[in-house]
Symmetry: C2
Subunit: 254 residues, 2 copies
Amino acid sequence: MNQFTVTAVPNIPKVQKGDNLLELILAGLKEANITLQDGDILAIAQKIVSKSEGRKVLLSTVTPSHQAIEVGEQVDKDPRLVELILQESEEISRMRKGVLIVRHNLGFTSANAGIDRSNIKQPDGDEVVLLLPVDPDESAEHLRQSLLESTGASIGIVITDSHGRPFRMGQTGIAIGVAGIPALIDRRGDTDLFGYVLKVTEIAVADEIAATADLLMGPGSEGIPVVHIRGLSYAQTEGKATDLVRPKEFDLYR
Amino acid sequence: MNQFTVTAVPNIPKVQKGDNLLELILAGLKEANITLQDGDILAIAQKIVSKSEGRKVLLSTVTPSHQAIEVGEQVDKDPRLVELILQESEEISRMRKGVLIVRHNLGFTSANAGIDRSNIKQPDGDEVVLLLPVDPDESAEHLRQSLLESTGASIGIVITDSHGRPFRMGQTGIAIGVAGIPALIDRRGDTDLFGYVLKVTEIAVADEIAATADLLMGPGSEGIPVVHIRGLSYAQTEGKATDLVRPKEFDLYR
């Protein structure tokens, strides 16, 4: 039967800098009675990858630049947060009161450079924000290799985040790191039932997998940061999330 | 266990105008040994809904307007196709050689007003194109009601299409018709593990469900136009795909 299953991996604890994600994931899989098999996919929320990599920044340690103060006033955001957003980005895409959309150094276009400040507050009232992993494709590949070594299973990894979109309301899960599966499937030349050659159609399968996992991850993704998918069959080609970044010259909406 | 399954409904035949989708779907479900239950979701490819509603147009029957001829020259497309695209749309969003992105009368912003011409050709060489359903939310609601009457199960329906996106490469499945489930889930006020109140986060669950189904639908979606999802638990509130359309005044990328 052409079917796949999507399972929340239970009891992943709160992640701290330096935590071994591999061990946490293996413990969660064991609890769910899941033995990894070749071709399985794990979707991992960006938040726990960033935390394990120590990407938290205390806002009190940030000195905003002149530009950050100016932009902060225009968009009505904390200038220290704006400073971090600008450091993480190659350019501002759009801004308006309450909204700062940038093109991240990694190529992704999203609000606030993917910096999460919604739910981390220190006991002393200082505020912690969380930057994206330095190189999410590399983080995904590292996890894939570690899981291969410890379980023998060759699986796919998708590191997920949630982005808003032009034209459409609401956020959806998207892939910011990919390993072991393609990010894009190119249907150029596939034929349909009538034997005509279809025109170029590329499907962003890694984004679709991230959206699928996001249906279980829930708010903030802290509760269920790891989702297991079994039964999707793809060529085990090597894709990267950067394949999903539209080059500037092909983006009519910059 | 927090888990859902996604199953391709087999052997849905090629759909013609006037075909009873309800019967085709029930026959496919029977073949897959699926008995519908309350809370199940069916994702249905736009293409078979449009065909059953007779939305095919023979290009030879279309007389292009002066504007369609002009735009056709600029974007290098058949002026008769452009005429249909303009009739289906409220405005042109972007155009460039080979690319015509419009805001559809239904609110969706996508290439060619969602008109599909990739794989329908008549034996005599004339070309047929396929418009979107007239009111996909209504088509979804109609199917939902029919399935409720014939099976007793209260399920959700998502009519799916594939759209390209600014910023990101590749198409993903999106929802153009919704019934029986919410389109957007508003996480305003949900609290995270630490008890802080999260800021406004709306998740476009109907789009995520469409993306999930698209992983099985495959090229042109003619082969597998119906996908069954079981195990996702949402409040049975009434959403519509038009909830997912970003109002112009909130779209910074018009």
